[in-house]
Symmetry: C2
Subunit: 510 residues, 2 copies
């Protein structure tokens, strides 16, 4: 930025603001690392004390981001006559920081403190309730969490639907008015497609997966393909956790995890590919954004689009396995003997309604999200109450997926999100699928060799495209701007609907 051309007072304010951003970025880097460590490497006995230490640390971070200094700098630099003189990057930083500042500033301090304690306890209660399959153990905590979120929706404010206020935290600019028709179209077509699949006489066999796959060999295979997909091992790690996740510290330190199940070789492979999608996004953000609020994904939905694109559009394509199946066979000669590549491809794309969201296939996955979305909207709106959740959950499972959970553990208690108060988070997953399909449509137009490249194990060109169009921009653009800029239009459900229709028609001979 040409600081020199600015008014001296403004120039000083910009410098102070950037120093403050840098400090927040440094603390946030450390806080992310501690979070990663406690999930991946920390020994058991030290964790309680670390939970306290993290509490102390995050409070300091929070104070900085809502400090008087931050407030007055943001006020000064947000004035229209000042904005006009600032470059695009500084403007975007101020936009993101101001949104966070205003959000945080509105939360009464004692209410926030109570909420942090509540969600910490709720998480333990959820774990216990899930273990015992007893929703009533979690219910009182969830009632308070819902109550807090209802209040927050009012405090944050909204135009039409109170749920919009919560959605904004995960997908800035998104609203129920926009989501409802997108999701309705996707739900209807998915339910219809699922019915036709269920009636199909040409179902893939998944017998190949009913074997043990040695964990050591799984590890070798995952560590083999990960860098080929574009994940830089000098700027990241692959570790093991029960629940796979990606955590970025900075663009040179992005850590992902996976889980190896002897009886489910798909779990690690697709878990790793999925998290690699998140990881490569973070590794590819423009280094100029490092140490600023812009050095992360544009939104939860856009982030998820990158993991889904790599996992599904690439990792579950026939081209992908044209290249990798012979390598997989080298790792598991006994298990894969006599299984053709095409049969393997069909097997990994088998559609089978399941109780558990994280185990769902590409098609039924979105139906799991619809159920959560509809419940969250109604809860925040006050149309339903927490006590009704188990019954409503089971009804919707029957309605959309044709199966009913035998208990709360495989029903309403399966996800961690509500225990930390993440209302508005779930839609990101299906948004990610919608974005990913729209991006696939664009990349196929711009790079006609897309599948040929995948078949040849050449991912550089594809990753360059994703980097150029999405990754490098970090949070510079809003998700809406970004998708319009890359695909030439607003988000539409048609691309995902068509993609699923086409893919499964071929696999199931519909």
């Amino acid at each position: 930025m040409e600081l020199k051309s600015l008014d001296p007072n403004i120039r000083t304010a910009v410098e102070q603001y950037k120093a403050l951003e840098e400090k927040i970025a440094h603390l946030s880097m450390i806080s992310s690392l501690v979070g990663w460590d406690q999930k991946v490497t920390a020994p058991k006995k030290g964790r309680d004390l670390f939970a306290k230490a993290i509490g102390t640390f995050r409070t300091e971070q929070f104070k900085l981001s809502v400090s008087e200094e931050m407030g007055s700098l943001l006020r000064l630099l947000s004035a229209p006559e000042v904005q006009a003189d600032l470059d695009e990057i500084t403007q975007a930083q101020l936009r993101e920081r101001t949104a966070e500042y205003e959000r945080f500033k509105k939360i009464p301090e004692d209410m926030y403190r109570d909420y942090v304690v509540l969600t910490s306890k709720a998480n333990h209660a959820w774990e216990e309730a899930r273990e015992r399959s007893d929703f009533s153990l979690f219910q009182p905590y969830l009632e308070k969490i819902v109550d807090f979120n209802r209040k927050m929706a009012e405090i944050f404010g909204y135009d039409q639907h109170p749920y919009d206020a919560l959605l904004h935290e995960f997908e800035p600019g998104l609203s129920v008015a926009v989501l409802d028709p997108l999701f309705a179209k996707l739900r209807e077509s998915s339910v219809g497609l699922l019915e036709r699949i269920n009636r199909s006489g040409n179902k893939p066999s998944t017998a190949v997966f009913e074997q043990a796959f040695e964990v050591d060999q799984q590890k070798k295979f995952n560590h083999y393909f990960l860098p080929i997909l574009g994940f830089d091992m000098n700027a990241g790690r692959l570790d093991e956790t029960v629940h796979p996740f990606a955590q970025s510290m900075n663009t040179g330190d992005v850590r992902i995890t996976t889980r190896y199940l002897q009886n489910n070789v798909r779990s690690a492979v697709f878990g790793t590919i999925h998290e690699a999608g998140h990881g490569i996004y973070e590794q590819n953000i423009d280094p100029r954004f490092e140490e600023t609020v812009l050095s992360s994904g544009a939104s939860f939905g856009i982030h998820e689009s990158q993991s889904r694109f790599l996992e599904n559009m690439i990792g579950r394509s026939e081209s992908f396995w044209t290249y990798f199946y012979p390598k997989l066979q080298e790792h598991f000669p006994k298990q894969l003997e006599g299984v053709s590549q095409h049969d393997f491809y069909r097997a990994i794309n088998s559609v089978q309604p399941t109780m558990i969201r994280v185990e769902a296939d590409e098609l039924t996955y979105n139906l799991h999200i619809m159920i959560r979305y509809e419940i969250e909207k109604a809860l925040i709106n006050g149309d339903i109450e927490v006590a009704e959740l188990p019954a409503i959950w089971n009804e919707k499972m029957q309605e959309y997926l044709g199966i009913t959970p035998a208990n709360d553990t495989e029903g309403v208690l399966q996800d961690v999100h509500w225990s930390f108060g993440g209302f508005g988070y779930f839609p990101s997953y299906s948004l990610g699928n919608l974005y990913a399909a729209q991006l696939l449509n664009t990349i196929l137009r711009e790079k006609p060799d897309f599948y040929a490249d995948i078949e040849a194990g050449r991912f550089e060109g594809i990753q360059e495209w994703l980097k150029d169009k999405i990754h490098r921009h970090g949070k510079l653009y809003t998700p809406e701007q970004l998708i319009r800029q890359v695909t030439g239009e607003d988000l539409k459900a048609d691309y995902l609907v068509d993609y699923l229709e086409e893919k499964y028609s071929r696999i199931y001979g519909l």
Copy 2:
């Protein structure tokens, strides 16, 4: 503590002080973790940015510990009439914190911040210099570090020798005047003993170690014996690094590292036992001291005494291998076939001057320390300059050990300490040996079954004794108080001199 009986103003001050201590402890826990991570797990490309983040973070920590609030609380609570009403633990906390406060208060803030960044970069430069065996790559960083330490010695102040000012950080109360005669006695007797050993006609054969020992089996053996010695694996980890170290986050999270060399099975075994000595110390500190400045070892020397005691007095004893040699043979049946337990014991205690300190035997180890001690004294005093180090190093190696390094990697570049500015640290190692021998003398009087327990693989009683006498007290007592309390006298060189004389006379038939 009976806070109720205190004057209300004092009570409030004590509460504020303890809250501040807790906050500092939380930040310090996090800062230790980040340090561990950057050495053990962090991918390369993110480290420079983490160095900056750590700089920011430590500056915040530093500000807290020298804050106005801290200063006025310490002044208020240090008044003699207040002290009299405080319990022993609070008094000790105030003693330690005041010493640190006064030390830190003297360091200009910007100087400190620059130094943190400098040492972080210096560490990477040292690594590269060592890899390429090129001192000149490290020299400019080391010059700045020495310069800083010379300045600090003047700023901290001293009575007789500027090096005293730096020694205090590692061994409170210690001075060149005390160390010189202790070290002189040890050096003279060691050089004499070494000459007699060199002339001995009854040298142990070390041929057994000139074989490859599979790294996988080494890992298994190390992970097998570590918990038996008393290291709690639920409150710690064992990882791999080039330079083994121990890092405590809290008593429930103590992490140690070792290194596995295929051609040197001793390296990992004794490295692990050594770091376990440090680790068990930290795990056994009284939990009441958690989140206070007292929750760490009494001093670097006392800390080292615990690692040396476990590594040498226990791990290099014949009794130890009476129990563990059969287990080692199970791990390496081919390599150890036909090697008797007694021959193995003699082999691990073979005295052989070597270039590398961390690979040195129990006797010549102290001579490595003497070289570093003398160089550090002269550097800080301004008698020599950094550029002269490689030559001086090689001369002293020839004088004390009779060998000359072929290059800087096996000479002046071998240790990490100077890269983080740890001037005054090295003497702790020989101090540790001196303390350890004095403790051995006491434990043998108080627990006559000492060697019988080791022979039977029973370490609980020994660890209980060490916990009771040393570990649990953390920093409650000064090293001087502690050693007097446990052994009934001040530190003397005689115990180590006699121990070495007796041990090697037996092994070498002198």
